[in-house]
Subunit: 198 residues, 2 copies
């Protein structure tokens, strides 16, 4: 960055190097969001890229202890994760966010915040069907929701608004993991071509 | 980093480059925390260092909307900011945190979290006296607290536990800003000598 350029930019912009990007993996519980995100992270790390995975279950106690699963609380949780992702990505980190984010408005807000700060953002819809996701039931949550033990379960008694704006859609019932990762990697290559080689 | 080294480290470690650091500026309201942090940020940016200032008032709506100023809520707020700071610093960012953080235990937890993840951390006690800070009253909060309009004001009717573990103590009534910044810069140079030159 030349000195001439520096004088034209505010401090926030001047303190950034090459941009990272945020890839948000939205989808039903057990759709395969975390599996793809972590496999992609492994590949990126092998490439020497700075990566952070902000996994919903891991992040929630740090950022959103006390929040529940109402629409308002889910939206706040998504907003906080989006803000942290944008900060990290603005400093060159590739941030992978496997978080349900069931409401389109909240996802759109995160996208808008990234755009406002000129940080690349991609939405990956992990479009595994409810039947397949429930068949996996990695955490046993569908079973508990069906038995009435828990409520507010996305896909069962809580809504999931399918993305209409996703840059990439992956049905993990139809596509093997390696191919899913390759598609997501290709999307990243489009978002930050100067950082990755296809 | 050699390939041999890579195989000995987990993904988190492998995805990090040269470390950043967190400097936490603790002190009373109007002590001068933000002023020092932003002046230091300007100097670091001029040096080409990636910097993020997590200023309490700016960060709170993003991370802690809905929280108040009870001890429990303050501790949660500090913990969240500490977690975000540690993530950013682990990816090479110098994170400056001008946040009151009135309770020693909460500050110690942030320090411990950084240590656990091998991220450099320094505590700067901005030790301006209550009399001087209240005389400034940048936001008019002392006046509102004294008149009874607001309560839970640190230094007035809410405690401030003075640090006993600070790496640096600055009394802004005794030391001009340029000197305060130089001291904080020198502390950073101690924490991340490979990144900065004294």
């Amino acid at each position: 960055m030349s000195t001439d350029t520096l004088t034209d930019l505010g401090r926030d912009e001047r303190s950034r190097g090459t941009s990272g990007a945020t890839l948000w993996f939205t989808g039903l519980p057990s759709a395969g969001k975390s599996t793809i995100a972590h496999a992609l992270a492994d590949r990126l790390v092998a490439d020497g890229v700075a990566v952070e995975v902000l996994d919903g279950d891991v992040v929630r106690p740090h950022l959103s202890a006390g929040l529940g699963y109402t629409r308002a609380d889910r939206d706040i949780n998504v907003s906080r994760i989006g803000w942290v992702a944008r900060l990290l990505a603005s400093h060159g980190v590739v941030v992978l966010v496997p978080v349900i984010a069931p409401y389109a408005d909240a996802r759109a807000s995160v996208r808008a915040d990234h755009a406002e700060h000129a940080v690349p953002f991609g939405e990956v819809f992990v479009a595994t069907s409810l039947a397949v996701a429930e068949g996996r039931d990695v955490k046993g949550l569908y079973a508990r929701a069906r038995s009435g033990e828990i409520s507010g379960m996305t896909g069962v008694d809580d809504p999931y608004e399918q993305p209409t704006t996703a840059e990439l859609t992956i049905d993990t019932a139809a596509v093997p993991l390696t191919e899913s990762v390759a598609h997501a990697y290709a999307l990243l290559t489009d978002l930050i071509p100067e950082r990755l080689r296809s």
